[in-house]
């Protein structure tokens, strides 16, 4: 199985080698006029991000791949509804989230709706990285990904949207149809739970500090 690469947020990777002369609004305008090359460029730019969202929600490589395709098809069908005054990436995230949540419901593989107390979680054991984790290059990233899997779905989602995809809290509140204060406190709890999970999974890291 070929080694997968993770495109860093700094922009390393093949996509960054291309001249970045178009922003999203240019590409969208061209896509609306039926420019297939623009659509291809848009898919290339969003591919890693959309796949990451699907992977974090579904936590299964094949399911994530299928879901990512569905997301792109939905984006293609709805490109004409994109409003220029709205952030495009947030719109993409919203569509991605909705599709992933629908798929999760269909699969009925959702994690428990309530938070599992960390004290009740099983003791960490020596384990091999899962196929999903093998998509990530560094051991630290794999550890964080695994720790995310121990969170409740609700907490994992808020971490995904705020800390990983770096959406604004207002956008997340709008996406989840919840008050801003609720989202803020939920985010704080989720971060704390994730930090505890990481320390519990890898206590040796703390000793090395």
């Amino acid at each position: 199985m070929p080694e997968l690469r993770q495109q860093e947020s700094t922009g390393s990777g093949p996509a960054s080698l291309l001249p970045n002369i178009f922003d999203y609004s240019d590409l969208i305008a061209r896509c609306r006029r039926g420019d297939d090359l623009a659509w291809e460029a848009l898919v290339r730019r969003l591919e890693g991000r959309v796949y990451a969202i699907a992977l974090h929600y579904l936590r299964d490589r094949e399911e994530a791949r299928d879901a990512a395709q569905d997301i792109f098809v939905r984006l293609y069908q709805k490109l004409h509804t994109v409003r220029d005054d709205k952030p495009f990436l947030a719109w993409v995230m919203k569509i991605s989230r909705n599709l992933c949540v629908d798929r999760l419901r269909r699969l009925s593989v959702r994690t428990p709706a309530h938070s599992v107390p960390l004290e009740d979680a099983p003791e960490p054991t020596v384990r091999l990285p899962s196929p999903e984790e093998s998509c990530l290059n560094s051991a630290r990233d794999r550890l964080v990904y695994h720790a995310l899997g121990t969170l409740s779905e609700r907490n994992r989602e808020i971490i995904l949207l705020k800390d990983i995809q770096e959406l604004k809290l207002v956008e997340i509140a709008d996406m989840m149809s919840a008050p801003l204060g609720t989202i803020k406190s939920r985010w704080n709890r989720a971060r704390l739970e994730l930090a505890k999970a990481v320390r519990r999974l890898e206590p040796s890291e703390e000793a090395a500090l």
Binding site: E8, R44, G48, R49, A52, A68, R199
Partner: protein
Amino acid sequence: MNCHEFESGLDVLLTGPIGPKTRAALEHHAGTCASCSDLLALARLPNQEPDDFTTGVLNRTSGAACRQAEESLPDFAANVVLPEGDQELLAEHLEHCRTCSGLVRELERLAADLPRLSIVQPEISLLADVLRRTLPVPVRLRRWWTATWPQSVRRPRFASELAFAATLVIVVIFGSPVSPLQAMPERAFEMVRTESFEQLEHFEVLRAAAREAIGARLQATVDSGTQSVQSLAAASRSKIGTILEEIASWFENAEDEPPAKANPTTEETS
């Protein structure tokens, strides 16, 4: 300065900023008063509390403060300004609590690590699959046709498959219960048999429907069918007319013949 004033100024002498005059007055009093001198010596003893002393006290009183501290740790790690006083109390707690200080360090690391997970390249690019599902239908069909048609034609079984498909189409068109063309042949023969010859013009209506339904190719077939039916009808009419004329002439001849020869004729007729 008396002893009461000395005790009031003792806290300032030990911890706070103090003016030189006040310090001199307090130290002078301690030098002259044995009781206050002992008190100052006690107050200047170094802290000798055991490591778990505070923990023990907290366990017997309010409990550990970690639970309250945790509520503010994410904001503290993100350098969010906490309410007045909370920042200092939390910082003091973190100096003594390894668990909470470890959590703060972990939160700071996660803030730097999590954005790296925002982009994960799939093993095989999604591009080909996405483009296949989003290209316009005519383009997809053209590509499919170009890719598959030559191979299909070269296969040995192609001729038999094509014949089977054509047969199937004909059966569906003329044999299906819902097909408008199903009754066409029977209707044509029925018209010839029971209705006047002029009503064969209704066949033109069926022919127009057929033209719309199955196109120009079938029209040629229908035209030839129409001609055949018309010629058959004309032939039938002429033949029937001839037979009727023969019967009529036979009856006329029979009436003209003498009664003596009527018996054999009747036998022949019967």
